[in-house]
Symmetry: C2
Subunit: 392 residues, 2 copies
């Protein structure tokens, strides 16, 4: 799935964050990958993570303190209620989160705290008023998160195996369908984006992968890259499958797009498909450590333009190749780096997608996406699903 | 599912946010319910929402601009790239998000912007440096979000119907299982937390509800309220089912907990169950507009204490009733208000859970949870699933 982020890959203004940094985070690990990465503890409500003098600490509510001790990977789990009592003893009658945290931060005698760019503004204002210095750092907050360990690559690949198995069983529905009046009919019913997506999402759930917003979009719908698709699928038109679940076991994502068609592809669509495939293979060929992602993106753009596929506003809507080439993937579906018009020097160990697409309402839409692991001399493709337009 | 939040229900320091307020948000609507509530537009990457002089606007990337125009409920959708060009024309060579937003904000000539408490600190710092005034407001950011419309209540109830159907088909697995050596055996296999949870989650997915972290926990596991449960289920021990999916259609949640047992309940556990049920019914009876949630919570605490069930640290772990009585529910699984030791005057239209529990490792764990709609003279129970301990 392509990224529509406007966040820039500018260099951080402060040093890399590592185990020796003084770090403060307040977030729910269910929605914030940085606090999950640092704590390996999953909780639905926001909690406090702190790293100081080489030790990591969670400040947890009574409800979570025992589970955090058993499940998290931090050095210390301390009860929030204890510091709440101390805040009250210090004279605050109804201490809020920052009053409680203040007691805790004072103990640490740290000059500056590094916080993520998305640290909540209200807590930031209050803690600064209480005399603490907070310095924000943009993504990647933990540089290390971009460089996947073998275990992380394995988690991504495991999720990808589930995606490939689920897509295969789903395409069988299309394979077994008959074409009647331009629709795909299986067991007397029209196949729709909704019914096919439900089949895919259930197949993924059976493999403990949670899929949300899976794209099964056909024809004109697919010309809007984030349109999830709705209504009956049609023969002889391209159908985009963009599948990007999170593994419930590991919390890592995978991400793959295939474009297929039931029936016979019009020549113009065949040529569009071949061009996107050529661009995608060119992109994969370009991925290696020390290469600038911007160059990879531009090579694909140039390839498309050379074949006569222009990008821009045509008849009041964006057409052509109007998204980036790829994005990092891991605990978040979209994470740094981006492969786009912005500079980024690729590093060994990054896992990125390569997913160019071309979208023309009068021809159709094609996007093809693999995930690759950046290596010193090239890359390893973590996606093994075949690429074809017409279903056999 | 009970809330472990430390956020206080203190009164906002600024007036209610409504359609006439000047509001700025930057977030992904996939993870931030406020920006979804205001825009009704779902996107995986952060985008900009602005409300000024009575008009609402989205500033969207080229990738999303067409879809946002078709799907969102805002007055205007403007292309980010247009303001990016204007920022460049004004002399910024590589404009970041705040440089682009600055051009846009200047146009609006607004004195103060109200932003959510979780507005990203880095953007806050940068916009203030550029001369803009940002005032944070704590939850509920939109007061109106707490007071559910009929359509919202209907969405919650629809999700709840799916939960009840899914639990019913799941309990059939337990009903049909045989007890052998204390385990539950179905078709030659031991039923486990994992296998039963998978059945439940798939049944929910078939109804387009996305369940994550569904709790199916047995015996000692269940004494830790957020433990999801693992390993074989056991006969004659309580099993907690806490089910809180999001509807894929409406994005609203439902939340229900039932405690059941296969086999014969020991007397001590039966008495624990009856006590929790008594407390829960007392809680539901107490819910009505203008009642203080703290009183409801205290009534349940007193009921448990009167029966001899103490709460606190026993043998180094929290035992008894050590979480709140309930929480608001809607686009977020946990949202204001809380029914807990903190003051909150209930208002008609709020949808809250009532979910006391008692947890003693030497007896077992029991939690029972319904969702109710606060009304002028009482409440309407949105949960219709029966309550029983022993499976027939």
């Amino acid at each position: 799935m392509q990224s529509g982020s406007n966040l820039k890959n500018t260099s951080p203004l402060i040093p890399a964050v590592d185990a020796t940094s003084n770090v403060l985070m307040i977030a729910s690990s269910e929605t914030d990958a940085n606090i999950y990465y640092a704590s390996h503890f999953l909780a639905p409500d926001p909690f406090i993570y702190l790293q100081a003098h080489g030790r990591s600490t969670l400040l947890m509510s009574d409800l979570e303190v025992d589970r955090a001790r058993a499940q998290s990977k931090v050095d210390d789990v301390l009860p929030y209620s204890e510091y709440e009592s101390r805040a009250k003893a210090s004279g605050v009658t109804a201490p809020g989160l920052c009053d409680v945290l203040h007691i805790f931060l004072e103990e640490k005698k740290v000059g500056e705290w590094i916080v993520p760019a998305n640290f909540p503004l209200r807590y930031g204002d209050t803690l600064r008023k209480l005399g603490h210095t907070l310095i924000t750092k943009i993504e990647p907050f933990f540089e290390q998160r971009s460089i996947k360990t073998d275990a992380e690559v394995q988690s991504i690949r495991e999720a990808q195996v589930s995606v490939e198995e689920a897509l295969d069983s789903t395409l069988d529905l299309l394979r077994h369908a008959e074409i009647k009046d331009g629709f795909l009919i299986l067991e007397g019913e029209k196949l729709t984006s909704e019914s096919v997506r439900r089949h895919l999402d259930i197949a993924l759930m059976e493999k403990e992968c949670i899929a949300q917003h899976t794209i099964v979009s056909c024809g004109i719908d697919a010309c809007d890259p984030h349109n999830e698709g709705s209504g009956p699928l049609r023969a002889h038109q391209s159908i985009i499958f963009d599948i990007f679940p999170r593994s419930n076991r590991s919390r890592y994502h995978s991400d793959m797009t295939r474009t297929v068609l039931k029936g016979k592809a019009p020549d113009k669509l065949k040529r569009l498909y071949d061009t996107v495939l050529e661009g995608q293979l060119l992109g994969i060929e370009g991925v290696r450590a020390d290469k600038n992602g911007r160059e990879i993106h531009q090579e694909i753009v140039a390839c498309f333009e050379k074949k006569g596929y222009q990008t821009g506003l045509i008849d009041g809507r964006m057409q052509g190749f109007f998204h980036g080439t790829g994005h990092g993937i891991g605990l978040d579906i979209h994470e740094p780096p981006r492969i786009s018009k912005t500079d980024h020097i690729l590093q060994a160990g990054e896992v990125v997608t390569v997913e160019p697409g071309l979208y023309y309402p009068d021809i159709g839409a094609v996007r093809i996406e693999d995930m690759v692991l950046v290596e010193k001399e090239g890359c390893r493709n973590l996606t093994t699903y075949p690429k074809f337009l017409e279903l056999e």
